[in-house]
């Protein structure tokens, strides 16, 4: 992928539209339509601002991209979607220019289309099953399902008439939803639709969970997040912010004393992991969670307004290879770092981050050091980071995850000068709920054990999202929230 200016993409799409007779397209013709690239801000410009990187499709591009869909009878893409959206259905409506119909089809399964269109890893889900990609023998050329989803969701929001689902008559039952991230929000909406009273508990002062504190503004603008959440909650959900279940009130008290008939725990992946190497306590070393929370939730990217400081080194190293590492590295550029290095112990091929995020990071000038891993962090007499000592690695035999295991090369130590280091090594589960709710069984990593119906070992308590899965994705969390809501609705119907 190399950067193509947005105007050029639009021009090309316009020219193509004029040439195609859409009334008589054969599958062969559909496959011949080039995949529409996502228009984006110019890399050197966007690396210094916080605005959204991807601009979104032009209408001409949506038309072309939607016409690439073969409308397969067996719809393999739906099987790839954790919430089973009728993908051919919404794409057909988009191709016909009926965007309202299109978004309505999505909303039958997902209440957060503008968010999912932006942050879902479609390439490993719906797009990984797409017949177009398979026919072209290049899965990166599958129909860009998420980009079309984003377009129709944005269209609806910009029309200012976001639709609400129908709500069943009040049942008199009350459900506690703990955590307002993707799992909690989805569960809240689905339980509410069934006519139950819903109280949504959130520890932070803002709703959205990882979508507000973790995913940066430049990937998911907070006004869009807020609008989508507001819309969902206008179904009549009571919100309790600044409320930490486990501490402000025990989960068992909610069920036993406060009259809740069921609860859903969607508290996410909590505790950030560190490497336990020398120098991690130095000034200038932080977890990606801390760095991103300061930047996103606390808005430290606007130092003239925000009271929360952020560490702005000139040379920043980010350790890790996931989406969070990409977010932290790209955010570091935007809060003042001049050089940003991503240090990853395997190769680019094994990186768990989305290809698009890696490509964006590269375009913005971030340097990747593959097959490299920190050995220790070096500081000066004041305890400030001055460098990072790394080891070179090579790939050995495949490990449990099927990826080739990185093996250190003895004696390959080298030092990079650095003044801040961000650890993006994933999260362990937050112990709060399990510490304060012994009735809930957890596995040895502290993740809550839930059965196929998302039910925990505690009566009337369900769980889903990262607190069950370990660190995963927004859409998988939504899928679990949905499944849990179904179980809760079934329980309360009895």
């Amino acid at each position: 992928m190399s950067y193509i200016p947005a105007d050029k993409l639009r021009e090309e799409a316009q020219e193509l539209i004029n040439k195609i007779d859409f009334s008589a397209l054969k599958p062969k013709d559909r496959l011949a339509i080039p995949m529409q690239e996502m228009p984006a801000q110019e890399p050197s410009v966007r690396a210094k601002n916080i605005q959204e990187v991807a601009i979104g499709y032009f209408e001409e591009q949506v038309k072309l991209e939607a016409e690439r869909c073969l409308q397969c009878k067996n719809a393999p893409c739906i099987k790839g979607c954790p919430v089973a959206i009728d993908i051919p259905g919404f794409i057909k409506a988009a191709a016909e220019g009926d965007y309202q119909k299109s978004v309505n089809i999505i909303k039958r399964n997902s209440m957060l289309p503008a968010i999912c269109g932006r942050v879902c890893p479609q390439e490993t889900q719906c797009m990984a099953e797409c017949t177009v990609g398979k026919s072209l023998k290049d899965m990166e050329k599958s129909v860009a399902i998420g980009r079309i989803e984003r377009f129709v969701a944005d269209w609806e929001r910009e029309q200012g008439r976001m639709s609400l689902p129908e709500i069943a008559p009040a049942t008199g039952k009350k459900v506690a939803i703990i955590g307002s991230g993707p799992a909690g929000l989805t569960a809240a909406a689905d339980v509410r639709k069934a006519g139950h009273e819903v109280v949504l508990f959130e520890a932070f002062h803002k709703l959205g969970g990882v979508m507000i504190y973790g995913i940066p503004e430049f990937r998911l603008p907070k006004v869009i997040l807020d609008k989508e959440i507001d819309n969902l909650l206008s179904m009549g959900v009571t919100i309790k912010k600044n409320f930490l279940v486990g501490r402000t009130r025990k989960l068992s008290d909610l069920i036993e004393k406060d009259g809740f008939d069921a609860a859903f725990v969607g508290t996410g992946a909590g505790l950030p992991n560190f490497m336990n190497i020398e120098g991690e306590g130095l000034v200038g070393v932080s977890s990606a969670n801390e760095f991103l929370t300061r930047a996103n939730l606390m808005k430290a990217y606007t130092p003239d307004k925000a009271d929360t400081p952020i560490f702005t080194g000139k040379k920043t190293a980010v350790v890790g290879g996931g989406n969070v590492a990409m977010d932290a590295a790209r955010m570091a550029l935007r809060v003042g770092a001049e050089e940003v290095y991503v240090i990853y112990r395997r190769t680019e091929k094994e990186m768990p981050a989305r290809r698009e995020e890696i490509a964006h990071a590269k375009e913005e000038g971030i340097t990747f050091l593959f097959l490299t891993n920190p050995k220790r962090i070096i500081g000066d007499k004041d305890g400030k980071v001055t460098g990072i000592e790394c080891l070179k690695y090579e790939l050995g035999e495949p490990d449990d995850s099927g990826r080739r295991k990185p093996v250190e090369i003895k004696g390959s130590e080298f030092i990079l000068e650095m003044d801040s280091v961000i650890m993006a090594l994933g999260n362990s589960s937050n112990p709060l709920i399990s510490q304060t709710t012994p009735e809930i069984n957890v596995n040895r990593w502290g993740n809550i054990l839930a059965d196929g119906d998302q039910k925990t070992s505690m009566e009337r308590v369900y769980a889903g999202g990262d607190i069950v899965l370990g660190a995963a994705t927004v859409i998988l969390a939504m899928g679990e929230g949905r499944k849990a809501a179904e179980s809760i609705n079934k329980l309360l119907a009895e």
Binding site: A203, F204, H205, K206, Y213, K241, N242, F243, L244, R247, T248, R249, G270, L271, P272, F274, N276, E280, G281, L282, V283, G284, S286, S287, N289, E290, T293, R294, M298, K299, T302, K305, A306, D307, T308, P309, I310, F311, D382, G383, N430, P431, L432, Q435
Partner: protein, 284 residues
């Protein structure tokens, strides 16, 4: 949203706020803290120990020193104003039991978090010795409240302007030498806690310290509050705030407390801050 019910200026730059927070007031236990944020959009989240609570009135009391822009914002609030966000109670409560004789050592603003612990220790049937100290007389807070709890009460100032002219470690050492001390609790500046730990260590007196590290969320998510305790990384917000003082790496903790000093100094020149505090003083 929490209403400020009462504001009191305890010393030159130390303020006490009584906040309406019924849920926190009924659940909190000694040793726990809250996170305050003046307003949602741009204010900082500040961890403060709950110095007292009145369950019947549904209120909690916090005490803080103006050290930067955010604490100044809080100091400028008056009764009737609101703090937009108050989250708590956070952290593990202090383990309170009857052990015999407990020495509570508080330095400066650290007397505020020490107060509910001393109170609970007394209530549990312990003999409570309180040592409190400050740089100078006018920086002493909660003297009457602490004196009322104590079976034995010692007050020190660094400059001798009130009580003994000593550091708190001097009477602590004397008490340990006399023997019969079952537990010590030290809360104050990191350097004071470090030396209290060094004082009690040779006597084998178990000592707790309550740590006040940098924090963002206070729920275990950011790891900004991490400290090394017994060679292991611990999070003050979920594993603490109290730890075995003999195992805490205070030197590293002090380094990390200064992480954002350059930014803070840039944001608020000390003179500007002092000027604002003085203005508050004059309004009184």
């Amino acid at each position: 949203m929490s209403k400020v019910l009462k504001k009191t200026q305890l010393s030159r730059d130390v303020f006490q706020l009584v906040l309406e927070a019924p849920e926190i007031a009924s659940e909190r236990r000694a040793g726990q803290f809250v996170i305050l944020q003046a307003d949602s959009d741009y204010s900082e989240r500040i961890p403060l120990t709950i110095a007292d609570a009145d369950e019947a009135a549904g209120s909690i009391t916090v005490i803080f020193q103006v050290v930067g822009k955010s604490t100044l914002k809080l100091a400028q609030l008056d009764a009737g104003d609101v703090v937009e966000n108050v989250l708590g109670p956070l952290g593990m409560p202090t383990h309170i039991e009857k052990v015999g004789t407990v020495v509570c050592v508080g330095g400066g603003i650290g007397v505020a978090p020490l107060h509910p612990i001393a109170q609970a220790m007394k209530k549990a049937g312990n003999r409570v010795i309180i040592i409190m100290g400050a740089r100078t007389k006018e920086l002493l807070i909660l003297e009457d409240e602490m004196r009322a709890i104590a079976d034995e009460f010692i007050v020190c100032t660094d400059d001798g302007s009130y009580g003994r002219k000593d550091l708190v470690t001097a009477p602590l050492k004397e008490i340990c030498e006399k023997g019969g001390v079952d537990l010590a609790v030290a809360i104050g500046p990191a350097i004071m806690m470090k030396f209290c730990a060094e004082t009690t260590r040779p006597f084998g007196v178990k000592t707790y310290a309550s740590l006040n590290t940098i924090m963002v969320d206070g729920t275990g998510m950011c790891g900004g509050c991490r400290v090394t305790v017994g060679g292991k990384t611990k999070f003050v917000c979920v594993d603490g705030p109290e730890f075995n003082a003999h195992e805490v790496d205070f030197d590293n903790m002090m380094l990390r407390q200064r992480s954002y000093k350059p930014q803070e100094q840039e944001a608020n020149h000390k003179c500007r801050l002092q000027q604002a505090v003085d203005e508050l003083q004059e309004q009184k």
